[in-house]
Symmetry: C2
DNA sequence: AAGTTATCTGCAATCGTTTTTAGCAATTTG
DNA sequence: CAAATTGCTAAAAACGATTGCAGATAACTT
């Protein structure tokens, strides 16, 4: 039950604590055999707290996400965990989009972890600026703080993805194309909106400000945004929705309003899902590898923990792909992949 | 940057370390004002490792789930986190259904956490029996180890839920009802199969062993199981699928085989999802409150951490509800709820 | 066999707290 | 006014490991 200490082992064998400690760290020791036995007999496990106190390391990495229930963030976490191997364990903080909880969590992190992978809920939190004072390295995922360029980040190629999405709608003959956007204060919200406008501009379609509605990345937000779009005197014929949750909300609004997809309204979402294939109609989306984003974040973080900031901060980006199903109407413009999904690859990683 | 220690604060104020420590623990202290100031000036934060070493507590609770990417487990984790408040932080381990990783993780937990919320991937792991030797309390969620009754658990009412599901199919006039089951060695797999057979028996429908196919709770497993069901000379007309992932797989198989749901095959799943509403056709499912399961698990765990095992182990169960949509065909037998879902509540919690 | 070097060992200090102990000053009491 | 009580305080001993240092064995030299 209550754990034996290193001194119990030492006593039992008749050597000093330091000898046992050395044995544990892999040094050559005379009575290694009897030490091994004593450790087993006493069921001795080193006290991690004591070890950490001495070493100043914790063997822990924190991951902060707005909501673990969002499959995208879940995949990021999973990717991070896989990349951590068994060198580091994960401390998960899912803040429920609550900046207050988030700040409090960050403050409690100091001294508990060796590093942080951080997907901020809001990008102007006070606690974030404190991050620079903390002793551990931070890697931002998906969202960055504009005035904090001293940290590494792993983003998606939002612009290219959004352009791809919008262009896909244009290629289907649409010109009344709406965009349900995330908060313009957020990296992905801003980037995707930029991509949307860029595609419109390139196709010489003039901006209709009614068609650009800013929402909040939630199901309810997407629902309301879609409703407001449907209430317009001149309805759009197509919509690019800025994330997975809002797409669900938008789809609910469309079904509730008995608007046919894709005939009356073409829909393209951002972020894929196992079920996107099975919804009615199967959803065309921009997808990117969330698992990879998490894994990249973890590996750059581990690098920082190991080597510090002798190299300048990295800004990594992962590809966005267009996954064509049926929610924009059918086309056969694109190549088929072996998975049965028609994919148009987009941007290159840097 | 590098953190100030309590002795730095003490020196600056001109008192002893113990006085600062007492101040921090809320005792009355003469120079409290100047201590407060010194702490702020030096940006002093107590070293958690040292504090933990002394107290023997870690302020951490581990949560082990087979796969954080499964929305059910994500909801459990979220529920647990909310219930933890800011008293405890969460250490997440998502083992990817790999028992080896799981065992390794459990072993590394000792000394790092004050308690464990555990959804085992396999229910016969070696490491699990070691759990009894460990110093921290454990609460099992969703699955229990049969020969380990000394721990608390929070389960779903699998039997009642499965009976409800099967009865729903029977009520629609089906008698050739298949069941794609989870591993019979697992608590939910076993329980749901029992409920399925119980409902058949009550309706005096004789068992057809071809209709009971045991799978593995994965998308692929569900797909293959459905395929084998479709290959039968006498196809079933309805199927009760034992979890969310297998339901996705089964649905894919059905779509690929161009089998119409619900006309040629009625489908009912276990565990609801935000998108269940939007798939084609909207999915009728048994649902239970995963968030609640996580929260209950956390609160019983915190109780154990506080009070130890002076009270006997609790076995908690949460309700299963029938959420009727369209994948079994339409009925109006059931009451409508204000959320627009028609719900038939089932079992009582204990 | 003696001298030199290479290994291994125990002692003691250290990491940054908390907590027990004993002591001192101020206040209250008989 | 002495004695008892109260209210803080500082010093020191934990908590359980790791590590530099110096001494003790052991293993090579010649």
């Amino acid at each position: 039950m209550s754990n034996a200490t290193i001194s119990d082992v030492a006593k039992k064998v008749g050597v000093s604590e330091s000898t046992v400690s050395r044995y544990l760290s892999g040094f050559k020791v005379r009575n290694s055999e009897s030490i091994r036995k004593a450790i087993k007999d006493l069921n001795y496990r080193p006290n991690i707290m004591a070890r950490n106190l001495k070493s100043g390391k914790t063997g822990m990495v924190a991951v902060i996400v707005p909501d673990i229930t969002n499959p995208f963030f879940a995949a990021v976490v999973r990717g991070a965990e896989v990349a951590a191997g068994d060198e580091y364990m994960l401390q998960l903080i899912s803040t429920g989009d609550d900046p207050v909880r988030e700040e409090a969590a960050i403050r409690r992190l100091n001294g508990r972890v060796d590093g942080l992978i951080y997907v901020p809920a809001k990008e102007d939190s006070d606690a974030i600026t404190e991050l620079e004072d903390y002793a551990f390295p931070v890697v931002f995922v998906d969202r960055v703080i504009s005035n904090l360029s001293s940290f590494d980040s792993v983003l998606a190629d939002n612009q290219t993805g959004a352009t791809l999405a919008t262009k896909h709608l244009i290629d289907h003959g649409h010109s009344a194309i709406a965009h349900i956007a995330g908060p313009s204060a957020s990296t992905p919200g801003k980037g995707r909106t930029e991509g949307y406008f860029a595609a419109l501009k390139k196709a010489k379609i003039e901006k209709n400000h009614d068609y650009h509605v800013e929402s909040d990345f939630t199901v309810l937000g997407g629902y309301q945004a879609m409703m407001s779009l449907l209430a317009l005197k001149k309805r759009p014929t197509a919509v690019f929705v800025g994330n997975n949750l809002m797409t669900i909300g938008a789809l609910k609004a469309l079904r509730e309003s008995k608007v046919n997809v894709p005939n009356e309204m073409a829909v393209i979402g951002f972020d894929d899902h196992e079920l996107s294939d099975l919804v009615n109609p199967p959803l065309t989306v921009i997808s990117r590898d969330a698992h990879l984003q998490g894994a990249l974040a973890m590996s750059t973080l581990l690098e920082r923990i190991r080597d510090g900031y002798q190299f300048p901060p990295k800004q990594l980006k992962v590809d966005s792909n267009l996954v064509i199903r049926h929610s924009c109407g059918s086309t056969c413009l694109y190549r088929k992949t072996d998975t049965g999904k028609r994919i148009l690859s987009s941007s290159t990683s840097s």
